[in-house]
């Protein structure tokens, strides 16, 4: 920890020590900038929804070479399942890779526990020279003549001045709204994630998920879990615990009157899930918002004296197949850090210079990916994909595999029958296939 300069004027104040904030602080502090990183939790990660899959290993490797050797990681991911479920059946697509892209450094992805990981990542920012202030809530930005000149924290005499404020305060960013960059999000633009971490012995995890050593797996569920509310569920293996949760669109929670916790209970009780959880003990429980509409709801990212990164900028990709937010948070944080360095070099923190940030987001692949997947959120939350197709798939497989002495049927007639029974229309199916292709294939 380096003591801040007595002036209490900083080159950069970063709000929020999540993946975005710490990445921005690392980049800026390494260039010698005087950086203050403010976190409301008792420590970075204390307030974050624990347990996640981190898909940015190669990218982080560029910032911190060999990061997985020092960071608290749980398991590297070599198995992924996508599962369509109806109340009584589950149809899954199982992917497993032993290729070096997945199973050798720098690996493809890891499961991590956020309280541990975020704490470690923020410590890297401290090591780079940033000053970390915890248990301190930022209440808003200080504006003078239309320019952001600092932040106000919820403590007596809590004004901090800075050339640049980087808002990395997570989904539904109060700071971005306050600076006039972002409107309040609508309920259909936000999802609510409720998550639990359940303790389970390592041996049981290996056996149940067919893993050895440090191999890990993620399972994503689509279908009846969310009981008419739009969303999905996931289950990740950690070293000696499981992270699982349900994500549901806030507007559909309102419409259906479902309480998020009920959905989680439903999911845990599902016959395809319950056996995986046997004997597991609840360790923690939390809930958090996720910005889900990607490209379409991107706020303005730059104001004079301020940048927005990570979830605060909506950089969370929820394609229905998985949620990727941590990697984009880091990438955008790094881009913001670089923009800060450039602005500092020319000593100009007006909007015009800071616009450089949006240019940097392209080489960091943030914009590229969000544009590519821009149709996915809408598609995934469509009614038919959410409820109808999983049921259809389940029903047809259920019929296909059932041996009850009746004459066997071929697959296509089975599907057509399942489709008729569930009320799906062929023209919808074709339209949806097209949309799926547009969302994911090209």
């Amino acid at each position: 920890m380096r003591a801040p300069k007595p002036t209490d004027h900083f080159d950069v104040v970063v709000v929020g020590a999540g993946p975005a904030g710490s990445a921005a602080a690392i980049v800026a502090a390494r260039a010698g900038l005087n950086v203050l990183l403010i976190e409301r939790g008792e420590y970075p990660g204390a307030k974050n929804v624990s347990g996640a899959a981190f898909y940015g290993s190669a990218m982080l490797n560029k910032l911190i070479p060999g990061w997985w050797e020092q960071a608290p990681v749980e398991r590297y991911i070599c198995r992924r399942d996508v599962i369509l479920i109806s109340p009584t059946t589950a149809v899954s697509l199982d992917f497993r890779s032993a290729s070096p892209d997945y199973a050798a450094p720098p690996y493809n992805a890891f499961t991590i526990l956020r309280p541990k990981f975020d704490r470690w990542f923020a410590a890297q920012a401290e090591a780079a020279g940033a000053f970390l202030l915890t248990s301190t809530v930022v209440d808003g930005v200080i504006k003078e003549r239309g320019k952001v000149v600092g932040v106000k924290v919820r403590r007596d005499d809590g004004e901090i001045r800075a050339d640049l404020v980087i808002a990395c305060d997570g989904a539904n960013s109060f700071l971005a709204q306050q600076a006039g960059l972002q409107r309040r999000l609508e309920t259909h633009e936000l999802s609510l994630g409720v998550k639990e971490v359940l303790g389970l012995e390592e041996a049981a995890i290996r056996e149940r998920f067919n893993l050895s050593g440090n191999e890990g797996m993620v399972l994503e569920y689509v279908g009846a879990i969310t009981d008419k509310a739009r969303g999905g569920a996931f289950l990740y293996t950690n070293r000696n615990s499981l992270s699982l949760g349900v994500i549901a669109q806030v507007s559909s929670l309102v419409e259906t009157g479902k309480r998020p916790y009920e959905l989680l209970e439903l999911f845990k009780a599902h016959p395809a899930v319950a056996p995986l959880l046997r004997g597991a003990k609840l360790r923690e429980y939390s809930a958090h918002l996720i910005p889900e509409s990607g490209w379409e709801m991107m706020p303005k990212l730059v104001a004079s004296g301020m940048l927005v990164a990570g979830d605060a900028a909506g950089f969370c990709l929820a394609t229905g197949l998985y949620i990727e937010g941590i990697n984009y948070a880091m990438q955008s944080g790094m881009a913001a850090g670089e923009a800060a360095i450039e602005a500092h070099r020319v000593r100009d923190f007006t909007r015009h210079t800071l616009e450089r940030y949006t240019e940097l987001l392209w080489p960091y692949n943030v914009f590229t990916d969000f544009r590519a997947y821009r149709h996915a959120p809408h598609f995934v939350n469509g009614e038919r994909l959410q409820n109808l197709y999983p049921e259809m798939a389940a029903a047809s497989f259920e019929r296909l595999f059932r041996v009850d002495g009746n004459a066997k049927q071929k697959i296509l007639p089975l599907y057509l029958k399942a489709m008729r029974q569930s009320g799906a229309k062929p023209r919808h199916l074709i339209a949806d296939l097209l949309q799926a292709a547009r969302s994911y294939l090209w």
Partner: protein, 289 residues
């Protein structure tokens, strides 16, 4: 008046995750905090501090324990001192108290020493009395409230099951605080930044004029640390509504026998009577004469 407060940095029990097999604490997940009882003690000391008074915070611990002193400085303590014997990884209560007592003597004895009633770590609850012994001062434990009246402290003390006693003690004294509702004040931003910048002085054995021999105490060995297993409770007076045979069964099973479960239904009047009769049978209400 000079006040000293003994602080310890402890794992927040809410974040302690014990491996059910080894009994080990998962250190990565654990959040270390100022012991809540110590925080209450510090807050009471700060509230007592008048014009010209000082509050000094002390802790026995490695450099990793410094945050507890910074937090005290941020909250308004006038000084902080860390004590440690670099040759150890942990200290026993007797060693902790001896280091504290020696340092207090060396730095000039205060009028009152505040402690928490029991720390949330290994929690011996012995340190206040040991400190009193080494300083040869009186000790009052489990103080819920206090007031200074001339050269003595008037106190309310917490007893078991909610009983309280009131009393007084002469100064100087060691006071162990158990004030549940008292929270440490929230530091202002400048104080917090200032506290983060301050270098915290440290005293080791040579500084304190102690030799390792002074710190040798009778050995006891912690042989196993396990997650808690409840001890079966001895039951108090078997249920008098049971037959003698059932009562003996209840005594023999040490309370492990399933409870008798009665579920009843009726008019409000009837069920109110039933509840009252039940309370009387169990001795919660006096029996009618």
């Amino acid at each position: 008046m000079r006040l000293a407060v003994c602080l310890s940095l402890v794992p927040d029990p809410a974040t302690i995750d014990v491996d059910p097999l080894t009994g080990e604490i998962d250190a990565d997940r654990t959040l270390y905090i100022m012991d809540p009882a110590d925080a209450a003690a510090l807050e009471l000391a700060l509230r007592l501090r008048g014009e010209g008074d000082t509050v000094i915070a002390l802790t026995v611990g490695p450099a990793a324990a410094e945050p507890v002193l910074r937090e005290a400085l941020a909250a308004g303590a006038d000084g902080a001192l860390r004590l440690w014997d670099e040759s150890r990884s942990a200290t026993k209560p007797a060693v902790t108290s001896l280091l504290l007592a020696t340092a207090l003597r060396n730095e000039g004895l205060p009028d009152l020493v505040f402690c928490g009633w029991r720390s949330l770590a290994r929690g011996s609850g012995k340190i206040p009395a040991l400190l009193g012994e080494y300083l040869d001062w009186p000790v009052v434990t489990d103080i819920a409230r206090l007031e200074i009246q001339a050269a003595r402290v008037h106190f309310h003390r917490r007893l078991a099951r909610g009983d309280r006693s009131e009393g007084e003690v002469t100064m100087p004294a060691v006071l162990a605080i158990a004030a549940d509702g008292v929270r440490l004040r929230y530091a202002s931003l400048p104080q917090l930044m200032q506290a983060c910048r301050t270098a915290i002085p440290m005293r080791d054995l040579p500084d304190l004029g102690l030799s390792p021999l002074d710190l040798s105490f009778p050995a006891s060995t912690v042989h196993a640390v396990t997650p808690p297993r409840p001890r079966p409770r001895t039951i108090f007076i078997p249920d008098s509504s049971l037959s003698p045979h059932e009562r003996i069964g209840q005594i023999l099973s040490a309370g492990a026998a399933p409870k008798s479960n009665t579920v009843l239904e009726g008019s409000p009047d009837e069920v109110a009577d039933a509840i009252i009769a039940f309370l009387q049978a169990r001795g919660f209400l006096e029996q009618p004469a």
